[in-house]
């Protein structure tokens, strides 16, 4: 009797150990990153007000772009490095809109409207190319980004001002041909979206908390299987109540955090995209995409037009990326004509991978968590480098290393897992 109880205990024990172990291995990258970020945050000795201001603006800047990576990953095409094409489309349109002098929120809307057809065309061409290089979409996307960048450079360095007339001494180089290397958007579309409506941080916390509680409560009492979701329900309620409490605490104190102002419209855009992606995954097309992502051959046999679905996935990602880059640049306020697009490709992909996404699986939560963690490190790394090693440059190189390293490491882990699985399959059959 006692013996039986013991074995049950051991079984239960080993079950927990197993759970913890599989949790650790499944979320290795994210956990490592949380530890790294905390360490760097501690070492950087950073003022909390500066940090919060910076992270709020960075999340609102980058989240939309990172979310644009989800759909192709679900469709089995890996991390979509070709979003830099969407970014280039956005930059090209922004240059013209700045030249025409359309500013503020109308300028943003005009950019979005005009960049959409360009992004659709590029998405179609990219998708067709990916259909010729199945299994190597990522490297193809990466190289395609460099290739199109060459054409983009040619257009804006050699043609604009020469063959394509543009009489604008602010944008065009003094020689009369070619666009300047940096473009200043202040007085143009800078903060065109962010400044439509801003609310202070505590108010946003309280509103978000209230909405969260109402939504959670509503969905909880409607769901039939209440016992199962009880834990998550209480947990999320605690989080939302904590948000409200924090909001009230900040408001009643005199910290500078009261001065952090949230760009509400930008965050509504991001929230809208999250809802859209969540909704899309339940549509027929979304389901088809998931099937294609799991197994192309099974999908083809069950009558799904695989190639077409893949092209649609890339087109959607491309359009979202071009909008995301417009949001990114209106927040930055200036951009490097010939280099900004390259950066956002690497950094957005590193961000979503840090959030725990893999080449085959990416969710909205991973994207948001990833943006938060990645940018935390980005903010604090130079200061941490200065404090630990006496050299801010070291911290800057370190964050670049992290971006490349994370992409390389997750790719390797995924490739290794796939290899092991296919070996096991071979042994099994």
């Amino acid at each position: 009797m006692a013996n039986g109880k013991n074995t049950a205990d051991i079984k239960l024990h080993s079950k927990y150990v197993h759970m913890v172990k599989s949790f650790l291995t499944a979320h290795m990258v994210t956990i490592l990153f949380v530890a790294l970020s905390l360490l760097a945050l501690y070492a950087s000795n950073m003022n909390i007000f500066l940090y919060v201001t910076d992270i709020v603006s960075r999340i609102s800047r980058n989240a939309f772009l990172v979310l644009s990576l989800i759909i192709p990953a679900v469709a089995g095409m890996g991390m979509n490095f070709s979003i830099v094409l969407g970014a280039m489309a956005a930059q090209a349109i922004i240059i013209f809109v700045t030249h025409w002098g359309v500013t503020g929120f109308p300028g943003i809307l005009l950019c979005m409207v005009l960049s959409t057809p360009v992004a659709i065309l590029m998405g179609y061409l990219t998708g067709s190319l990916f259909n010729k290089t199945k299994g190597q979409e990522m490297i193809t996307g990466l190289i395609l980004g460099f290739f199109v960048a060459g054409i983009y450079w040619f257009f804006f360095l050699q043609l604009v001002g020469g063959i394509i007339p543009m009489d604008n001494p602010i944008l065009v180089l003094s020689s009369g041909v070619g666009i300047r290397t940096t473009i200043d958007l202040s007085g143009g579309i800078r903060y065109g979206l962010d400044d439509v409506y801003r609310l202070s941080l505590p108010i946003v916390l309280i509103i978000a908390g209230v909405i969260g509680i109402v939504y959670r409560g509503f969905s909880f009492f409607r769901s039939k299987n209440q016992t199962e979701s009880k834990l998550t329900f209480f947990f999320s309620i605690i989080v939302f109540v904590a948000a409200i409490a924090a909001g009230i605490a900040i408001m009643s104190s005199t910290t500078l955090l009261n001065n952090v102002r949230i760009p509400v419209v930008t965050w509504l855009f991001i929230a809208g995209l999250c809802l859209l992606i969540a909704f899309f995954q339940h549509t027929k097309l979304g389901q088809d995409m998931r099937t294609v992502g799991q197994d192309r051959h099974v999908a083809a046999v069950s009558g799904i037009p695989v190639d077409k679905v893949r092209i649609i996935a890339i087109i959607m990602s491309m359009v979202l990326a071009s909008w995301g880059h417009i949001i990114f640049l209106q927040n930055m306020g200036a951009f490097s004509t010939y280099g900004s697009h390259e950066q956002i490709g690497f950094y957005s992909i590193a961000a979503i991978l840090i959030g725990g996404a893999t080449v085959k699986k990416a969710t909205i939560g991973q994207a948001l968590l990833g943006v938060f963690l990645f940018h935390t490190l980005f903010i604090v790394a130079p200061a941490a480098g200065r404090n630990i090693f006496g050299d801010a440059q070291l911290g800057e190189f370190f964050r670049v290393f992290v971006a490349y390293g994370v992409i390389g490491a997750t790719l390797a882990l995924h490739a290794w897992k796939t290899l092991l699985q296919s070996k096991q399959k071979q042994l099994g059959s």
């Binding site: 290089t133 299994g135 190597q136 990466l142 290739f147 050699q158 440059q393 490739a415 290794w416």
Partner: protein, 348 residues
Amino acid sequence: MIKLLKNIIATVSVPRLIIIGFFIALLISAVVLQLSISELLSSSLVRIGMNSVLVLAILPSIVCGTGPNFGLSLGILCGLVGGLTAVEFRLDGYTNFFAAIAFALPLAVLVGYGYGLLLNKVKGAEMMFSMFIGWSAVSLMKMFWLVAPYSSPEMAWPIGRGVRVTVALLNRQVAQILNNTLIFKIGDITIPTGLWLFFFLCCFLVWIFLRTKTGIAMHAAGDNPRFAEASGIDVDRQRVIGTILSTILGAIGILVYAQSFGFYQLYESPHWMPIIAVAAILIGGASIKKASIANVIIGVILFQGILVVAMPVFNIFTQDMASMGEISRVIMQNGIILYALTQISGGE
């Protein structure tokens, strides 16, 4: 006649024909514009020679089946460490050059071994993985250069620590040492004999290696891994050997490049060199799965030749010739890699 033409197009392929056509057009315009042909030829010979070993380094990686080595930066970094160490010991001339190779070799073998083992774990995604491991190594080494304990005056900043962005080789009598060995002139054309002899020596050694027992096994492992495995070849081991060889040649390649250039460039330049080298061998007719020494030689001559001739020709047409040269390089190199990617057996 049409059939013959079609055959030629099929074997040479359209992108390569475009590149060859571009080269011919450049040459014709150089003649028409009365540019100094002998000068162009002399600088082409130097440019081709200095890039040649780096392109050769891609060959073993394709032959052994890991695909073009986009992580050649690992080898390049080994070479740079070797080169800096030789400068640190204040060695001069050929002693410096060969000491640099000697310092770099064990490092390259070690790094290549580890890198090869990793590549065996990521079969099917080698290119992507090697690209990113190369880039992360470059940024990791940037941090190393910032704190590296080198002290010779060529390298150290006057104040503070770390290594300069470029390390000049003139004072150590290494600059152009290969180029100037047995240098002679035919008319106005300068022939950098030593440089080319060194390249041919490397080619010859690789050629011999590929005909040894190991080399043949490597070929087999790269051509058809399953068949090779069935006939008793340890495919994983061959892939590691190929990767080591590629890394070693990368290390030697950067030393050859740097002596001709006259500087070690530490921070930014190792980043893009692998892609340029891969593009050159692909232009020479190699594919992701198949390559030969001929591909190396043709490729480096075509690619670097174009880049040399393009500059003065563009100079006539546009005020901004530097960026035009850069643009045509970027379009060519990435275009040919994209083309090669679409040729991998229908993608399945």
